[in-house]
Symmetry: C2
Subunit: 310 residues, 2 copies
């Protein structure tokens, strides 16, 4: 796929170790984190991915080299000597739609200050992966130019413990991505159509509601788009699916530079296609090297899955 070389994309979020247990097996500590999945997915579309994050000195240098080879600039990835990387461990239940957290060790993330290297300061696109809302807004405020589009991902955890910060931060963004339960929690409305209206009044003009195996919804003013999810034989590990979706979404927008509703639909399909690869293996394994032909084929499958002629 021809990559755009002009539009720059700034990505932040966690860069971390995960240990994952699913009905199909379990992993030792493997590399994960929202910004890792986002950057990798976006790198299939654009060569100008700038990463801001923090890790400890336990984070493998050769994985950072690998990210660089994918065209991801890691100048903004702080490596804290003598400290440990963020670590999350979780177990998925049989339905793969619910999970329990076994271990959360914040480590370097506890005092993460998102320093913006000078060459990163004027991004065209900004993707805020999951982090404390106050860290996300700090980063926005440090940019020297307002990006063309700011997309923010967050989760129920921050709604539980930092709701006011979250509400302040979403005022600053154009697109919010959350799942259906989170949309209900944030809006106080069960109907997703009503929830979307309430959330759009909080700031984001665009809302993406991720429904896992049931697809994704895009809301903008009175328009709605419903993207299906790919029907896979097995979902092997859902970790990072939402982040990979976000990376494909913002990557496509950065590649095309087009933020119309019609193009956001395409971005959602690319995001969904990337996410469908992600869940077929543990961690980032299946999105490290996706052949272009496989991506094109999968996008075609999405069209076949959902199109009809009346």
């Amino acid at each position: 796929m021809q990559k755009n070389l002009k539009m720059s994309l700034l990505v932040t979020g966690t860069v971390a170790f995960d240990a994952i247990e699913t009905p199909f097996g379990k992993t030792d500590k493997i590399i994960g984190g929202a910004a890792t999945y986002i950057s990798l997915a976006a790198s299939y579309f654009t060569q100008s991915v700038n990463l801001i994050g923090v890790v400890g000195d336990d984070f493998p240098a050769d994985y950072i080299d690998f990210l660089n080879k994918k065209g991801i600039n890691t100048k903004g990835l702080q490596v804290k000597e003598g400290e440990k990387s963020f670590f999350w461990s979780g177990r998925y239940f049989n339905d793969m739609n619910s999970r329990e957290t076994l271990i959360t060790e914040l480590n370097v993330l506890a005092n993460f200050d998102p320093i913006v290297p000078e060459e990163y300061a004027e991004p065209d696109f900004l993707m805020l992966g999951n982090l404390a809302p106050i860290v996300q807004s700090t980063l926005i405020n440090r940019l020297s130019k307002k990006p063309k589009l700011i997309v923010m991902d967050t989760m129920n955890f921050w709604m539980d413990i930092a709701l006011e910060d979250l509400k302040e931060t979403i005022k600053l963004v154009n697109v919010l991505t959350i799942n259906d339960e989170e949309a209900r929690q944030l809006s106080g409305e069960y109907s997703l159509r009503k929830a979307a209206k309430v959330i759009q009044l909080m700031g984001p003009k665009y809302l993406i509601i991720k429904k896992g195996e049931h697809g994704a919804l895009l809301f903008h003013e009175n328009e709605i788009f419903y993207a299906p999810a790919m029907l896979l034989e097995d979902v092997f590990d859902p970790t990072g699916a939402g982040d990979t979706f976000a990376g494909g979404f913002i990557g496509w927008l950065a590649k095309t530079g087009d933020i119309s509703f019609e193009n956001m639909k395409r971005a959602i399909i690319y995001g969904s296609a990337m996410a469908s690869f992600c869940v077929e293996k543990f961690g980032t394994e299946n999105i490290l090297e996706i052949p272009e032909s496989a991506l094109i084929e999968r996008v075609a499958q999405f069209k076949k899955l959902s199109h009809f002629e009346m």
Copy 2:
């Protein structure tokens, strides 16, 4: 909408009273039953709907007159003197996706013998609404000609208490419609893609998996179609949504006489559109008189909701 006058459609299923409680309110005994919803929905597409069912003498004659005025032939609707109609009462929980049964009084249904009037005996299309599988198969065996297409709806209740009968009956049908949990129960597979393969090997060449607010899936050989659900401000009462969907589906097929996969996609969209009207009010209220323009408009919304250009 121009209705087809040539292809005949035979419908069976319950004709009943329901008492429904939802977070929005509750009803006294109102008219319900699978065959009622199916016939009403199908009557928007074809003038040749023949109904087989059974009621007691408590069933209002003016509702039967109303069905006749909709073009539904009720010669096969047995009215049992001195007996009572089937009665179901249920309560929906806040999420509207789960419910509990409060009362089930079989009454006339306990000994229902599906007698086929002579003029019904050679239907082009047969829609078996929810009933004991043995009653459904009895009706199939009494027809003097094999229909062009047999569609069968059933539910988990029969999987729990009459699984062997159910398995025998589904061998005789072309299309099975069940919900996602029922597909998992019947196949023993969690992945719907795997579940569909298992169920297709049981007999039905086509499988429709109804996912409520998450839309519907059509499987045939290696083809899959994913229809979205309409995003409504509120789902007022889900009772009969699946039957109304089935009625719109078979009604469209009977109208067009075309049972290709492409046309089944359209049939699913018409079924989904009919179901989206159904849930906007209690019982059959909102599908008694749907203006043609409203139906056309809603089908257009489905296309807008799910189509994208790459």
